[in-house]
Amino acid sequence: MTTVLGDHDARFEAMYRKHYGRVYRSLRSYGVADGEAQDLAQETFKRIFESFDQYRGEGEWSFIETTARRVLYNWVRAGNTAKRKAELVEIDDPDFSYEPPAVEEPDLAERQQQALRKTRLRQAVSELSPGQRECLRLWVQGFKYTEIATILRVSIDAVKSRLRDAKKYLRERLGGDQ
């Protein structure tokens, strides 16, 4: 029994030593801050240790990467869920005393112009086909063609074609608008 446990621990330790840095760097490259990346990397290996008995020793990095992605995903998701479920504060709540500094706002005519532009744009985006709209939304949010293809599970050619058509439609529809 000692031998089995010893072998188990030795294998895990070898895996940890080999891949910990890589997991940490991958998390950092995603944009996670140093301390949190350390925590998430630790969490990744804690999970691996807990399920190490089920690991058959094949595709070592694939196993680690999936676990690390799971940990990262849950961490990001928890932040989003927390934001969505955050308690809303009534604007006239007496306890709500924070007043942000006034910012310089555009004048009324400009605001009206801006609102009109956005309404037209929103209408035009709604008129796109679902596939075009999905590509456009991801593209505007900074995703590359290959990433959009991965998220939507379509080919890169399909992404390029849909984006080209979407931009063309919007230009034709709103080209004259300023």
Partner: protein
């Protein structure tokens, strides 16, 4: 013209509406099933819409993790491979050059180590003192040329240096520390094989100061045959 900020605002509005409509983001297992194509069409559509309106979650799916160690090593290995090939090619080139030089040297050694007939001496006069002749044409009568370079110069130097250069001014041979013979000449025995047909220059320098002083150039031509 469409303003980028307007488009970003519109997309953010749509995201917010979809978040309200669709509810919580998908779990990791749902997302994994989505990427593997294991969901029903309806579920697939829901997860896709959720990923669009939760871009930071979608990014965890697309963000590349650090590549495999082997992948990191691959460029290094390729780099090594290229350098190995280059080194091997250079080794072959140098081996070829060495073989060529060695063969030539052996041939000359053999010629010099055996008795051979010395051709009539070829008196060389400095360029500019030969009249209309551009170069002295060497006479091919034996297996060597005995070149006699005449020192016609008033200034004297403690030592001299002789060089033989080809038509492209590439030095073929050089020897310093020379003294003229009693009759103010330098005698150089040159194996015939050393000078293939073409034009050459024998250049004489005076040594003794900080710089070598050019004294004379003797242009010679080796005829074919």
């Amino acid at each position: 013209m469409i303003r980028k900020t307007d488009l970003q605002d519109v997309i953010e509005e749509m995201n917010e509406e979809d978040r309200q409509r669709l509810g919580d983001p998908p779990t990791f297992d749902e997302m994994l099933a989505y990427t593997r194509g294991e969901l029903s069409a309806e579920e697939e559509q829901r997860v896709r819409e959720l990923l669009i309106c939760y871009p930071e979650l979608a990014r965890t799916l697309t963000e590349p993790f650090e590549p495999e160690e082997t992948a990191t090593l691959a460029p290094v290995l390729r780099f090594r491979h290229v350098w190995t090939a280059l080194a091997a090619a250079l080794a072959l080139v140098f081996a070829g050059l060495y073989w060529q030089a060695d063969t030539k040297a052996r041939r000359l050694d053999r010629q010099l180590s055996l008795p051979h007939v010395v051709a009539n001496e070829q008196l060389l006069l400095p360029d500019g003192q030969r009249g209309r002749e551009h170069a002295t044409t060497l006479t091919v009568t034996g297996d060597s040329y005995l070149l006699i370079a005449a020192l016609i110069h008033e200034a004297r130097y403690p030592q001299y240096r002789l060089e033989i250069v080809d038509a492209g001014a590439k030095p073929l041979w050089r020897q310093a520390g020379l003294q003229p013979r009693d009759n103010d000449t330098f005698a150089v025995l040159v194996p015939r094989a050393f000078l293939p047909p073409g034009e050459y220059q024998v250049v004489l320098y005076g040594l003794g100061g900080p710089r070598a002083v050019h004294i004379a150039t003797y242009t010679v031509r080796v005829p074919k045959g």
